[in-house]
Symmetry: C3
Subunit: 347 residues, 3 copies
């Protein structure tokens, strides 16, 4: 088992709308898991039939049960085979179950001790289904360690370079940034003061309209980021113009790869399919063609080494990512030693 992952935590498994009539299989923190909607609602099981070890996710939902594609054994919410088409279900035909919760369009799976699974510990992403907003979701598989994706999100100064065509701001040299902590949540805020709107805002604001542009990130355990982008009148944070909340939900697949679920929820252009398409295009390019290749190239350079082994140069802008890594590392170390989760670290 890899030392790289927290187990007693909730990971994002899928967007709600990814799972309809068919089972969906995904590997998270090295475990193959299948999720389906059956007669007992949403169920998450080990994705391997105990008979011949074929992935159950190749099967289908039949009579509200998950039917194996190979010989038709059917499994229910408790992970037990409850139907064998040619006889009694074998006693030993039982697979592991995982606690699963659906909330605000997100399906979360708990990978650790089921007795500790508390849905109240899931971070708040209720903006995803808040009324009066338009939300566009997406997914990218990234062949890079999840902590590299978190580093990326914890230091948004990269948007000036990686996402130059959409997001570069003439105010960059005057950038103000700060980092703070609330319990185990790490916050960072970047303000690009008194500049013209970046390209991605120019459909919604006049190119000559000088603005303050602020992006605030909230990292929560294990590896999820809420990002709030706000446009205000220069020097007047109370004079709100438009805004955009986004979710960046990163789930380790295994060592060296992760699932990246993203969503952008805006309060402008609501109900406008052209604006939706613009967001979708931006997601496709921004994550698929810009972040993903950089993260994957970074991973190829690192190989099997942890980035810290290579003694990276640390910049002042790395402070948020460093804190998130430290909190996560301490939690993992506690878990390995079998100790209860510590109180939130002091700032």
């Amino acid at each position: 088992m890899s030392d790289n992952f927290l187990r007693n935590t909730w990971y994002v498994f899928a967007w709600s709308d990814e799972i309809d009539g068919k089972p969906v299989g995904r590997k998270i923190i090295g475990d193959h898991i299948v999720c389906f909607r059956g007669r007992d609602g949403l169920v998450a099981l080990a994705d391997s039939c105990p008979h011949r070890f074929v992935p159950l996710s190749l099967g289908s939902v039949n009579d509200g049960l998950l039917e194996c594609a190979y010989h038709g054994l059917r499994f229910g919410a408790e992970g037990r085979c409850v139907f064998n088409p040619l006889g009694d279900p074998p006693d030993r035909a039982v697979v592991k179950t995982y606690p699963v919760v659906e909330r605000n369009g997100v399906i979360w799976v708990w990978t650790g001790d089921p007795a500790l699974a508390d849905p109240d510990s899931i971070a708040d992403f209720s903006f995803l289904t808040a009324p009066g907003r338009a939300t566009v979701t997406g997914y990218a598989h990234v062949s890079a360690d999840y902590q590299l994706a978190i580093d990326n999100l914890s230091d948004l100064t990269h948007i000036q370079f990686i996402h130059r065509d959409f997001q570069a701001s003439e105010a960059y040299p005057r950038l103000e940034h700060k980092t703070w902590q609330d319990g185990d949540d790490v916050y960072r805020s970047l303000t690009f003061p008194n500049g013209r709107p970046a390209a991605f805002l120019q459909g919604f604001l006049s190119p000559d309209h000088l603005i303050d542009f602020t992006v605030e990130t909230r990292w929560t355990l294990p590896s999820n980021v809420k990002l709030t982008a706000t446009v205000t009148e220069p020097g007047a944070p109370e004079q709100y113009l438009i805004g955009n909340d986004s979710a960046h939900l990163v789930t380790p697949e295994d060592d060296g790869s992760c699932h990246y679920f993203y969503a952008h929820s805006r309060d402008y252009g609501v109900g406008d399919p052209v604006a939706d398409e613009k967001v979708r295009e931006w997601q496709r390019i921004g994550f698929g063609e810009q972040d993903k290749p950089v993260l994957e190239a970074q991973q190829r350079r690192l190989g099997h080494r942890d980035i810290m082994q290579l003694r990276p140069v640390i910049l002042p802008t790395d402070v948020g990512g460093v804190r998130a890594r430290r909190i996560l590392a301490q939690r993992i170390a506690h878990e390995r030693r079998g100790e209860p989760a510590p109180q939130a670290m002091e700032d």
Copy 2:
């Protein structure tokens, strides 16, 4: 050398019509072998030139000899270089030869001690070239251990699920099955009693015609299955309607992958190219899109582990596959200890 393969046995190397004017290279049980038709007939050699180790299968048949693609050395039936375009053939330029037999459209290669190679020990597949029948052959490379393919063929209850669209029968819940042994050959029979024809039979029988459908498999060492499908009047096995013999010849490529040669030989629609095409389509879908992905997914779950290490749930329908695995394991163990092949195991 892998412990997973019997060496003193005949393996299917190719269909006869795969080898015409050009040499064909294939890896079987980890050995690279090239087969060609030359001045001494069919020849099988180690597929590696002793000069620069380029595969001889990249070369060509020239003057009835196998000519290396790189520098033109030519090799004959004894594996000896008998022609060097720029001088005498070097004494040391000799490659290993393999006993090879062509029978009923199948090319068999013996991978063990040549002194023990007895063509009479090749199982009977003479139906493949029997008169008055129409036979369609094909090939699939499968990235799964050959024993997983044998398990698949030894328990045909899977056809109701994997091949549902072609072969699912309403009589499945009433399925009768039995297993028996004759020497080292393992037989299994499944009867779907008194049901309407499955989809793949509906071009040849009226959809309302109630039938008994029986499939009998004969597994022979090392890993080849003859399958006889018979349609009879319900309750009257002597009232034969139509039938279909098929060969499922599985040759290990190496650990975790195999060659799957299949052929269907029928006594209906003989000479009808539309019926041929229907079989070919069924083979392409049935093996290529249905069995192969399931076997490969199974292999990915197993990784480098043998399936028995994972303590699979065993169903009554697995008895044929379990016997075949046991017979094969005993033969391999005998061979590893240098003992002669045992008498056929008792039933």
Copy 3:
């Protein structure tokens, strides 16, 4: 570090025209290196930003410096970060530099101790930019050890077989060949006497014109070959008809793969785009479809083993390749022991 490579030597990194406004990254002898043209001319650096280890070759040249794609740090000729868009350049942000030389359209990088880098030790390929000639360059990535490519070039008897369609000669059975040495340079010459022109010459000579065709190769450390092809009147080497010099510059990428830079420079059809296209087509087929697949198949047969471990049959025509391997092996052994490069080996 692999024992397979000489480090104190110049390797070809690129053709000059491959590097214009954008940086180019390539791995040579296992080192990731980036080359760009900046305010200080041509620069070669370790291709990894010391901040987050993203390849610098993903970045761009900005203000004559190499800018990292991720956070905009910029690096100059000394490998030092000289610009940080959000503050002072960090002291520790320095990457390794490599001596780099551009000569006759070729960019050479020195991978060893910079103090020993002497551009005068670069072998002469000045024909590449000599006036009155037409030169066509190209590149192929080959998944085979660089020494297999050198073996290929050191024994051109293979052209009769691998390049049969272009280069086979009816004079092959009368081939004369010799090998000699000048210092550490290994020369070989092959003459196809008194034959009709091979196919690739038939656009330039009458098919009935009997000729002597001579190819001479000069191998120089570490792995570069100059090949001179000359067509003369039969038995009259002084009666020169046409000729062709080519460069075959092989750079190890890592164990088991190499970069193959090739160029053909001719004194006929100069200024004729049809003749250029013919050369380009020949390069594409000759290297891409003929040499490359053979070398890669050879490498797959060898796996991680050195060819010498397998005790290959040695032919008289292998003498040039054997000498080149021996000289290279001795140089590498000297370097590993920390001794100065030896005097050129005696013939």
